[in-house]
Amino acid sequence: MLCQNCQQRTANVHFTQIKNNTKLDIYLCEECAQEMSQQDFISPFGFNDLISGLFGAQLKQEPAVKLKCKNCGMEYDEFLKTSRLGCTQCYKAFADKLDPIVKRLHGNGEHHGKVPARVSSNVNINNEIDKLKQLLNEAIKDEKYEEAAKIRDRIKSLEVGQ
């Protein structure tokens, strides 16, 4: 594809902007992109716009349904524009839409890092239980029933302790 500005060089910089629910794609060559950013031309396509471009990439094929967080009143469309959620409950209210976004941003991982002191005991136990359940399944699959029984007892004791 040729650069939309100079129409001469190959376009290798791609900008996406979502405005009023329409997606705007701009393809530029590196030289033009650099020149325009110096002239502040590209400043409206700041980091947030690029991020919301990423969030909004799934907008096209889906019908517009007004999703709203009951806790804080944040609308999903508003989040797409600002890339800011309104409260912790938004993560649950928009879970179906946010999960694929999170995968695109961070891959398939779940949190493995620090846990705040006040919730840590429960979360740590839950993590431990999850791990043991996985081991249990593997043990059953490998027909190691004695080991499986031990793991099952360990899970039970952890669940009772909670």
Partner: protein
């Protein structure tokens, strides 16, 4: 004057500073986008109570954005103590900053809190340790927004998980001169590492200064992220060192000529734009770090770089300045600084 460049850290001639920040929100109040003024004011009060007894790293003073002069705010931003977003905000936000200016806790930014620590040279582990300590102290006194799967919940999903951004500022003139910087940018992108200009988001590289930081915050432990950024930076530093020597050996006269010319201009110029001064300071910094210039210290150059920035410059002059006046003042301050 910022205390940040006043001491040297490991690899200080290439690694200017290491910074770690944690994005944190409390569970009982909405995120910044949906907070009302009372909730914002209450949050500041809550943080003042929590931080009042914390003096391990010196007393933390609250820089209130609603009372601070715009020039002071931008100056804090230029010294990387607050974000551009916070410098722009007007009411009910601010930052707790210690006397050494290596700790800053921003309140009512994009997230309720941004706990940040900055050290000279490449010292990410140390910066993380300080953030971790402050973060644990806050967590003892109030409940954070936290989820088993997504970790620390943040206003923007780009920060969930650890909420941690670890970044190192690197001076890479040889990689820029030889054009290798482009391939570094590309390969860093592939492994989830961002490289950008010194002011962070939306900024071009100024004075061959680049900020290397992690992109991904979910699925990796804090220590793993710190280790990978640390490792990547050390590799970049090694490559920069090799290229510096190659460039020097290829044409010693031309190399020294460029550096001494830049030094000469800085010592004698009467008008300097910020762009020009950054370029010249970058050359001189390269010369000092390679032992070509011996009568000036890297720390002095770091200081000259900080005070060349528009707001810090005006703060030093004690009054707002027009651009022409700034360029004259900048030339004067740099001249005094480096010919002392």
């Amino acid at each position: 004057m910022s205390k940040i460049p006043a001491e040297k850290g490991p690899e200080f001639d290439i690694a200017v500073s290491s910074r770690v920040r944690l994005a944190r929100n409390f569970a009982d109040i909405p995120f910044s986008a949906k907070m009302n003024t009372k909730q914002q004011a209450d949050l500041i009060k809550r943080m003042q109570e929590i931080m009042s007894g914390f003096t391990v790293y010196g007393k933390l003073m609250f820089a209130d954005m609603s009372t601070l002069h715009p020039v002071d705010r931008i100056s804090l931003m230029e010294r990387h103590l607050i974000s551009p977003e916070l410098a722009d905000s007007k009411e009910n936000s601010g930052a707790f900053i210690n006397e050494n200016e290596n700790i800053s806790i921003m309140v009512n930014e994009e997230d309720h809190l941004r706990v940040q620590s900055i050290f000279p040279g490449i010292q990410l582990e140390k910066a993380y340790k300080v953030c971790d300590e402050i973060d644990s102290l806050i967590a003892e006194k109030a409940d954070y927004a936290f989820d088993d799967k997504y970790g620390y919940l943040t206003s923007c999903p780009t920060n969930i998980g650890t909420g941690m951004r670890a970044s190192v500022m690197l001076h890479l003139p040889a990689l820029v001169m030889t054009g290798y910087m482009k391939s570094i940018l590309e390969s860093c992108n592939k492994v989830g590492v961002t490289v950008r200009g010194i002011y962070g988001e939306n900024s071009e590289a100024v004075g061959d200064m680049f900020q290397v930081s992690n992109q991904v915050t979910l699925g990796r432990k804090e220590e793993e992220t710190i280790a990978s950024i640390d490792g990547i930076c050390k590799q970049i530093i090694d490559r920069e060192k090799i290229l510096r020597l190659q460039l020097y050996k290829k044409n010693i006269n031309r190399f020294e000529d460029r550096i001494f010319r830049s030094y000469g201009i800085l010592q004698n110029a009467r008008i300097l734009s910020s762009q020009e001064s950054f370029k010249l300071l970058s050359d001189v910094r390269l010369g000092v770090s390679m032992g070509i210039i011996n009568d000036i210290d890297i720390v002095t150059l770091n200081e000259a770089m900080v005070l060349s920035q528009p707001a810090t410059l005006q703060k030093m002059s004690g009054k707002p300045l027009e651009q022409d006046e700034r360029d004259i003042k900048r030339a004067e301050l740099i001249r005094i600084k480096i010919t002392k």
